[in-house]
Structures are given as structure tokens and as C-alpha cells.
């Protein structure tokens, strides 16, 4: 079992088979553009685009909904605060609390935009394993060090998690029960420090082992990415869709 679950990374849908690079570029542009839009028309268009991608990825709906629920549980806090604090025309008043029209509109817009981005990312980016993600980022000429950082974090997170579990077990076996006292704080501080030191040592040993196998600063990939015609077609389609999204936001005359 891995420390990171990747429930969407396996599949045979069109989305899974598309080249990871075109998916990543599309996802990044889509996320930035959607974050920038200010109108409902554009936000809803973005949501529609994201849903089309989701349909292409043929993911298990239940798991997608579960993930959306997690994201939206953060957005609930916005609904609890923003409509009451955003200045504007009051539409509903209850005691000292007043809900404003502008507050409701902006909270709704944020909700639509966040969901569009999350769905888009699930469909485009979460449909590849982390290792493929790292490889694709490397091929997209992102800084090598960041790509290595991603891949190594992924590889050793599990090992470090196990180390953490072992330490916690060892604490429990010797009768440790967390409470609100200095002993508990000190113990947790020791635990965190020990994990840090061990991770550092392990990084050292991993690097030594890599040196022993002739590592000299560059990774050579077995390179299984291959660009095909459908990737180009998807790229063009995604580009057009994003242009349309931009047109809906900035090209159409706004109703004011």
C-alpha cells in the first residue's frame, strides 16, 4: 500500500491513453484561465468543459464524488462567512446577520470555479501515475531538480511513513499515552526530530547507492512517452476550447 492513493491513475479510456504532456499543458492553462474569469457565463462554460473531459476519462463516479465532497467541505466555510460579510445590497436579514446579494453571487462564482478546476484536474492530471507525471514534467523542460524532488518524495514518502509508524508503535509499547502535558509535547518533538534525522540519513545512503551505480547528475529515462496524432488533435481541440472560454469572458459584451 502506498502513502499516496492514486485511484484514478489506472484506466484505458481515451483520456488515459493521451500523451501526458498535452494533458498537463491543457490542465495548467485551463486552471489558470478558469481562476481568472469573473463572469458566471465563463465559469459555467469552464465547468461544462471540465465535465466533458471527465466523461472522456470514464472514471468511477463514486470516487470522483467522494473527492469533490472533500473539496467542497472547504467551500462550505466560504458559504458560512462570505455572504454575511461581503458588502452590498441586503436581501435577507436575521437579527444582526445580513446576507448580501453580492456576497451570494461571489460565493456561488467561487464554488463553480473551484469545482470546474478540480474536475478538470481530476480528468486531465489525476489520470496518470505520479511517476508518469514526473517524467512528463521533465520532458516539458521543467527544472530537473523539481522533477527529481517530486519523484523522490513520492518514492520515499511510504518508507518514511513506515518509519513513523514504527516509532509510534515503539512509543505505544512503552506505555506512551498522549495528553496535554509537557511530556507529550516533548515526545512528539523528539518523534518529529528523529524522523527528520532518519530521512536525512536515508537521503544520504540513497545518494551513495546511486553514486555506486554510476550516477553523475542526470537521469536517463527508459522513455515510454510517444506523441501520436490523437495527441495533436486533442491539443488543437483543447486550445480552441480555451480560446472560446476566453471569448465568453472577455469578448462578449457584458450585461451590466
Amino acid at each position: 500500500m502506498s502513502a499516496i492513493q492514486e485511484p484514478f491513475s489506472e484506466g484505458t479510456s481515451l483520456m488515459h491513453r493521451l500523451d501526458p504532456r498535452v494533458r498537463l499543458v491543457a490542465a495548467a492553462l485551463f486552471a489558470v484561465l478558469t481562476a481568472a474569469v469573473q463572469t458566471y457565463a465563463a465559469a459555467l462554460a469552464a465547468l461544462a468543459l471540465a465535465l466533458v473531459c471527465l466523461a472522456l476519462a470514464r472514471l468511477p463516479m463514486r470516487k470522483v464524488l467522494a473527492r469533490l465532497l472533500v473539496v467542497n467541505s472547504f467551500i462550505i466555510f466560504l458559504w458560512l462567512v462570505l455572504p454575511f460579510t461581503y458588502p452590498g445590497d441586503v436581501v435577507w436579514r436575521w437579527g444582526p446577520l445580513a446576507v448580501t446579494r453580492e456576497g451570494l453571487l461571489i460565493t456561488g462564482l467561487i464554488t463553480v470555479k473551484s469545482n470546474a478546476i478540480i474536475i478538470g484536474l481530476i480528468a486531465l492530471a489525476a489520470t496518470m501515475p505520479v511517476t508518469t507525471l514526473g517524467q512528463a514534467l521533465q520532458r516539458l523542460r521543467l527544472p530537473e531538480k523539481l522533477c527529481h524532488l517530486l519523484l523522490f518524495t513520492y518514492r520515499y514518502l511510504y518508507v518514511i511513513e513506515q518509519e513513523y509508524r514504527r516509532l509510534v508503535q515503539a512509543m505505544k509499547i512503552r506505555g506512551f499515552r498522549p495528553g496535554t502535558n509537557l511530556h507529550t509535547y516533548r515526545t512528539y518533538a523528539n518523534l518529529a526530530a528523529m524522523l527528520l534525522v532518519r530521512s536525512y540519513d536515508r537521503a544520504d545512503r540513497v545518494y551513495q547507492a546511486m553514486l555506486c551505480r554510476g550516477f553523475h547528475g542526470t537521469f536517463y529515462s527508459l522513455g515510454t512517452l510517444s506523441w501520436q496524432r490523437r495527441d495533436g488533435l486533442f491539443g488543437v481541440a483543447a486550445g480552441l476550447a480555451l480560446l472560446m472560454l476566453g471569448y465568453v469572458e472577455w469578448g462578449l459584451p457584458r450585461p451590466r
Partner: protein, 229 residues
């Protein structure tokens, strides 16, 4: 007398901040074709010796020669590492690629082999160790024994002339130990094994040395070792 595979002369080494040095005026020689076990209590310098040979640690004094060439600088040791394989105590330190095939191909790729050839070498090495079908297995999900065998494959894929093994049997079950013995007996290269298990050494090496401050003292261990061939 033929040239020694490894020769250490008058090595002095101390870990930073340690009260006493691990080696002082230490001398050591390994002949071609030799299979040697290194024994001694914890902390006597067995692992340190292996790390000195491969340049992960540098001595404060003395000279190291590998395959007849004196090695002292980074560049020298880079060349040594192409021909001397070190199997680490903890396989998790060694297997860092996501899949088995990628990990075993890592060494050959670093040696400058094209990907197709690296994959072929990796597949062949895995097959030689009885690990067919492991290609796409995820390295951190392997069992302890499988991890050890895969990391051995990763070292052997570089086709080394000398193999250094650091406590290869630690934490292994009897079956995996037997497989390891079988693999080592079939190797045509020299190797040195650090181990605390006399039984394992009896089956894999012909002579054992007790690591001391100034030299390795030959012991009577491992006499019943493998026959030549």
C-alpha cells in the same frame, strides 16, 4: 604474484568527532578470484572498509589501489564504481526507481548504454536471478527477500568485476538465503561478504578475515566453502 584486485596500504581512517580511529596503518589485499568473508564485532570497520574501497569514504592517510590503479580523486572512484558493485545493507536505500525494470536498468543507462540495450541487460539479469515477470512490479511493494534479490540484480546488471556485499542475509528467510547462496556460487567474479552468519559464509567463501585496527587477520572460517568451478 599477480596484481591484487584491491590493495590498501597504511590506511588511517576516523569518523569525524570519533574518539578513536577505525583504521590505523591498516593494510589489506584481495587477490583475483578470491572469495572472502569479512567478520568481526559491530563497529570494527567492516562496512567502513567496503565504503573506503568504493570511495564513499576517504581515508585521512594511506593509499588505495583497485585493479592495480591507485585511486584518490573523485574521477578515479567514478571509474572504480563502474567495475565494483556494492550491495547495500538496506535494499530500500538502493531501490529508488518506481519499477523493478527501471531500477535494474539504472546502472546500465548510467554506463551510457542506449535504453533498448539497458532494458535487455536488465531483463537478462533478472532472469538469471530467477526474477522473471518482476519487470513492472513496484519496488516498494516487494517483500524483504524480493527487494534484496532485485537490488542484487541491479548491481550485477552493471557487469562488475568485483562484488562487495554488506550483510546480505540480514532479515532474510531460509529460502531466500539459499537462493542467495546459489546465486553467489554461480558467479564468476570475485566477491567480499560482510556477514555475521558463519553458516552462510561457510557456503559462499573459502576464507574469512577478522577486521582489526591495523589489518584483516585470517581465520579458519569458511573452509568448507564451495568447490572451484
Amino acid at each position: 604474484m599477480p596484481e591484487a584486485l584491491i590493495e590498501l596500504r597504511n590506511i588511517t581512517f576516523a569518523y569525524p568527532g570519533a574518539a578513536r580511529p577505525v583504521f590505523e596503518g591498516f593494510n589489506f589485499r584481495l587477490e583475483p578470484g578470491q572469495h572472502m568473508g569479512l567478520i568481526g564485532p559491530n563497529g570494527c570497520g567492516k562496512t567502513t572498509l567496503l565504503h573506503l574501497i568504493i570511495g564513499l569514504l576517504r581515508p585521512q592517510a594511506g593509499t588505495i589501489s583497485v585493479f592495480g590503479r591507485e585511486v584518490s580523486r573523485d574521477k578515479d572512484f567514478t571509474a572504480v564504481r563502474q567495475e565494483v558493485g556494492l550491495l547495500f545493507q538496506n535494499a530500500d536505500d538502493q531501490l529508488f526507481c518506481p519499477t523493478v525494470l527501471e531500477d535494474v536498468a539504472f546502472g546500465p543507462l548510467n554506463q551510457g548504454k542506449p535504453p533498448a540495450e539497458a532494458v535487455a541487460i536488465a531483463r537478462e539479469t533478472l532472469a538469471r536471478l530467477g526474477l522473471e515477470g518482476f519487470d513492472d512490479r513496484v519496488t516498494y511493494k516487494l517483500s524483504g527477500g524480493e527487494k534484496k534479490l532485485v537490488s542484487l540484480a541491479a548491481v550485477l546488471a552493471m557487469q562488475p568485476r568485483l562484488l562487495l556485499l554488506d550483510e546480505p542475509t540480514a532479515g532474510l528467510d531460509e529460502d531466500t538465503k539459499l537462493r542467495l547462496i546459489h546465486i553467489l556460487q554461480g558467479l564468476e567474479i570475485s566477491y567480499m561478504i560482510v556477514s555475521h552468519e558463519h553458516d552462510f559464509l561457510n557456503h559462499t567463501v573459502k576464507e574469512c578475515c577478522h577486521v582489526h585496527l591495523t589489518c584483516c587477520r585470517s581465520t579458519k572460517e569458511g573452509k568448507g566453502g564451495k568447490s572451484d568451478g
